[in-house]
Amino acid sequence: MGEIDDLLPLPSATFHILIALADGDRHGYAIIQDVEVRTGGELTLSAGTLYRSIQRMLEQGLLVETRDRPAPEDDDERRRYYRITPLGTAVAKAEAKRLTDLIRMARAAGFAPRRA
């Protein structure tokens, strides 16, 4: 558990990347697109930020590069695909819980609207 706690709070780019990888392996550009769509265009990760985050996440063991390629017609030889690891999933969950707890406290304090 200590290892996970050490990583929290996650930088927002890291959290977004984990979310983007939640439903399957993606390559870099797909991650950027996914984040962009999910945030309604609010957040467009730059290439630099993306790969710096990826490099660090690889070192931390949140991601792995995967050798399982998608169906050949979708594949692009030059692209690397990333997959979330169990640790990555655990960290994402812990971060989500941390944020939820935070929101709950904010609601109790009247800073955020109560859900109907």
Binding site: H27, Y29, S46, T49, L50, R52, I54, R78, R80
Partner: protein
């Protein structure tokens, strides 16, 4: 796209190789989508983004490398401590040496536009640099167009009375234009003006900042106060700023020259005592000023053919006035420090090389796991820089402790504050040295790894480090030995020189003599009778003290703070007081009876000055042997007459020569006159004022009693420069002693480091050859054979290092010959001792590896294979 590729170069290569291929198409796609101003916005965004992200990646890497380094070093604390200590010695020596060298040689003088300040000298045959005489000074100043201004000064110590005990102050008498020439104004109060600096002007004084603080508690109301200096009132008109020291760091007060027509009379042209500083006009070079002064001096020589015979002019940059000897001494010091640093670097490079070999497997493993060459290089560099920084910090600490010792190498006669310190400049220097050191000794192992991932490293049972690296490591050790031999020889030469100088016979016996100076308050002591009464009373009472065998007064003691004092001499009556040259002058000293006995100066012929040599008797003189040799080489001097110091005097005695100008300088022949045989009020500059007391006991024990006797005789007298003659002699050789001590320290460090280097190299070699040694022993080799194997290796290294080292030492010795006091740069004793010492060092370094080699058990060694 090319620009984008360029931007990507900001990233570490590893990152670029890994992700560059991915990032380029991403950017290309964005670029295609952007239109109009969007393109500009995209570029601006991208540049900002890449700059900040690449920086963060670098920081990430650094953090990783540092963490890794910390783990690695924790695993081998012995190595880490050794390495840090070696760096500390190298950096410490270099930093300390730099702090002094920078202080004295490099730093500009603390005056505005210091490069325009020059020192002016007269020159006559036999005296390449001579102070100016007031009339010549005035004529130069009026005629020269090369200068915006010229100022003059002369030393003028004064006695301050009326504020507690009488105090002797270090003072300088200046012309009103001196401070403006230097470009410095008082911090409080006003500068001297022409009205302060003319004959008959009321006395005014400006205080040095330090003196103002210590004597007047930095009281700003000091302005307008009256001080009694040499019995006359002076009004304080200003305080110079902190850090202003001129002409030397110990000056406490400045007064004005107040010259009148009398000082500028033609009869004064041969009286040289004014020092002069000029400020060059903008755009005028030193050479142009020199040319102009040559013309002026030549014209004056035509105008005053007698007084100015052979008188030329010399212009020197004020910043370069420091003596050649001090300069050489500091350069030698810096060279020695650089040697120590070189040895330290070589040693570390070797240590790291050995480690890199030991870590081949680790490094190969990391390379096999995909760490690029750049990553490994970066990691190794981080390690060596961490070691260099830690060692450097310790080294700066060492330098801080040792600077007070080094400070004694600063010549006192500089217009700068008393002592160097580790300030920002020095720290910046230290940081640069640390980085360069870290990079350079880190380079060796990096070059090794640089060859690409070494797959051999993964194989088991590798034998030796391989020929190429062995040679590199041996070469480094040879460099260490050579540098340490060079240092040993240089240190040895300086010790020999110190011994030589200490062995020089000063002409008197310095043991068991207390000396001190007083300054007779002249108005009351203008008459010979008044002075004589004082001398006689003090001598009688001092000689009555237990243990005291004799006491005597003299104008100025030899090798003391004033060493000049020469007078034209004529042995045949054709005296020409106007002409100066080196071959018709003698040192002039007035003495009381008892002086020669006290100093242990032997009376070779005739007699000493006696109480009977009074003014109403025949004027007498005692001359030195060199005087006799010059004027009457083969004749009996006793009874002959000379014309000297305003009178015709009969030679009654001959005494041994004294090196009054210092142990290492030539001194003019000496003439001693009776303190009683001078007209009232005449030649007061030479009235005896220094007392010497010889005792059978410890001279310093006498101080309170002698002080009391003088106080009782004349309470207004300041008593200063209280020291034993032995201390005075030590002071004379102090800079040599310090220099020798520093160099011996450096040599000892070098010696130890080189021994460590040999030890490291041979230990490693033995550990690499355990199998070979095992096989040899199994085949019947004796212990002595194994011993020889290791020993020969060590001796070969030593031989390879000693020869170039001795050669370098010889060259170093040649270049500092001026410091060697006649000791030959190829002094056989020094050279052979250094070689012998380096052999000892080699043997010491060989000891442990040899023992290890001897303990190799053939069975174990072969089984490991």
């Amino acid at each position: 796209m090319r620009l984008y590729n360029l931007l990507l170069r900001l990233y570490p290569a590893a990152f670029r190789n890994e992700y560059g291929e991915e990032m380029r198409p991403l950017f290309a796609r964005r670029r295609r989508q952007a239109k109009g101003f969007g393109v500009l916005a995209l570029w601006l965004n991208t540049v900002g983004e890449i700059v900040s992200n690449s920086w963060l990646v670098h920081v990430d890497l650094l953090r990783q490398d540092l963490g890794f380094t910390a783990r690695v070093l924790r695993r081998s604390p012995g190595f880490a401590v050794t390495a840090i200590f070696i760096v500390a010695l190298g950096i410490g020596a270099t930093t300390a040496a730099f702090s002094v060298t920078d202080f004295v040689l490099i730093r500009q003088l603390p005056f505005p536009e210091p490069e325009r300040l020059v020192k002016l000298w007269e020159t006559t045959p036999g005296y390449p640099w001579m102070e100016l005489s007031p009339p010549n000074y005035r004529d130069w100043k009026e005629a020269a167009k090369s200068f915006t201004s010229i100022g003059a000064y002369t030393f003028n110590d004064v006695t301050m009375t009326g504020a507690g005990e009488a105090q002797r102050l270090t003072g300088t008498s200046v012309s009103a234009d001196l401070f403006p020439t230097l470009g410095v104004a008082p911090a409080i109060g006003r500068p001297f003006t022409g009205d302060d600096d003319r004959q008959g002007a009321p006395g005014t004084v400006i205080l040095a900042f330090g003196f103002w603080q210590s004597q007047f508690a930095a009281d700003p109301n000091v302005l307008g106060r009256s001080l009694m200096l040499d019995g006359a009132p002076y009004t304080v008109i200003g305080v110079m700023p902190r850090g202003f020291h001129f002409p030397a760091s110990d000056v406490q007060v400045w007064t004005t020259n107040r010259y009148g027509p009398g000082n500028y009379a033609d009869s004064e042209r041969a009286d040289n005592y004014l020092e002069s500083v000029g400020r060059l006009r903008d755009g005028v070079t030193l050479g142009q000023a020199q040319t102009e002064l040559n013309t002026i001096a030549a014209r004056l020589e035509r105008q005053y053919p007698k007084e100015n015979k052979g008188t030329g002019a010399v212009v020197n940059s004020l910043g370069e006035e420091i003596s050649d000897r001090s300069r050489l001494l500091l350069l030698a010091l810096s060279g020695a420090a650089a040697c120590v640093l070189l040895i330290a670097c070589a040693n570390l490079a070797n240590l790291l090389l050995a480690r890199a070999l030991g870590r081949r497997r680790e490094l190969a493993l990391r390379a096999a796991m995909g760490a690029g060459r750049e990553r490994l290089v970066r990691q190794l560099m981080t390690e060596s820089l961490v070691l260099a920084t830690a060692g450097g910090a310790l080294g700066v600490g060492i330098a801080m402790i040792s600077v007070p010792l080094f400070a004694q190498l600063v010549p006192a006669s500089l217009p700068i504050a008393g002592s160097p310190s580790i300030d920002l400049r020095v720290l910046v220097f230290a940081v640069v040295v640390i980085v360069v050191t870290g990079l350079s000794f880190g380079l060796a192992p990096v070059l090794r790894v640089g060859g690409g991932p070494d797959l051999n490293g993964l194989r088991e049972g590798l034998r030796s480090g391989g020929g190429r690296k062995e040679r590199l490591r041996s070469a480094l050790v040879v460099v260490e030995i050579a540098a340490s031999v060079a240092l040993l020889v240089s240190a040895g030469l300086l010790i020999r020189a110190l011994d030589t100088v200490r062995g020089i016979d000063p002409g008197f016996n310095p043991y068991g003599v207390l000396t001190l100076r007083t300054e007779l308050p002249i108005p009351e002591y203008r008459t010979v009778a008044a002075r004589d009464a004082f001398y006689t009373r003090v001598r009688r009472e001092v000689e009555a003290l237990p243990g005291v065998t004799s006491a005597g007064f003299i104008s100025y003691l030899p090798i003391s703070s004033f060493r000049g004092g020469i007078w034209p001499v004529s042995v045949r009556g054709e005296i020409d007081l106007g002409i100066r040259s080196a071959n018709n002058v003698a040192s002039l000293r007035f003495v009381t009876p008892g002086y020669f006995k006290t100093m242990g100066i032997p009376v070779k012929r005739g007699r000493d000055i006696s109480d009977a040599d009074t003014r109403d008797r025949q004027l007498v003189a005692v001359v030195s042997e060199s005087f006799v040799k010059r004027y009457w080489p083969d004749e009996d001097p006793i009874g002959r007459h000379i014309n000297f110091a305003l009178g015709e005097r009969e030679v009654v005695g001959v005494v041994g020569d004294v090196r009054f100008r210092g142990l290492e300088r030539a001194s003019e022949p000496q003439v001693y006159l009776s303190s009683a045989q001078v007209n009232d009020g005449a030649i007061l500059f030479y009235a005896p004022r220094a007392l010497a007391v010889r005792t059978a006991g410890s001279p310093s024990d006498l101080v309170p009693a002698v002080r009391q006797i003088i106080r009782r005789a004349e309470p207004k007298l300041p008593i200063f420069e209280v020291q034993t003659l032995e201390e005075m002699m030590d002071h004379e050789t102090a800079s040599r002693a310090v220099q020798a001590r520093v160099l011996v320290g450096f040599a000892a460090i070098a010696f130890a480091l080189a021994a460590v280097g040999i030890h490291g190299l041979l230990s490693f070699a033995v550990s690499q050859r355990v199998t070979e040694i095992g096989v040899r022993r199994a085949l019947g080799a004796q212990s002595s054979d194994v011993l020889l194997l290791v020993l020969l290796r060590g001796l070969a290294l030593a031989a390879a290092g000693v020869v170039p080292g001795a050669l370098a030492a010889y060259l170093a010795g040649r270049s500092m010959e001026a410091l060697l006091a006649g000791v030959a740069p190829a002094d056989p004793l020094t050279l052979s001792s250094a070689v012998a010492l380096s052999l000892v060092m080699t043997l010491l370094g060989t000891l442990a590896p040899t023992r290890r080699a001897l303990r190799v058990d053939p069975i174990t060694a072969l089984r490991a294979e």
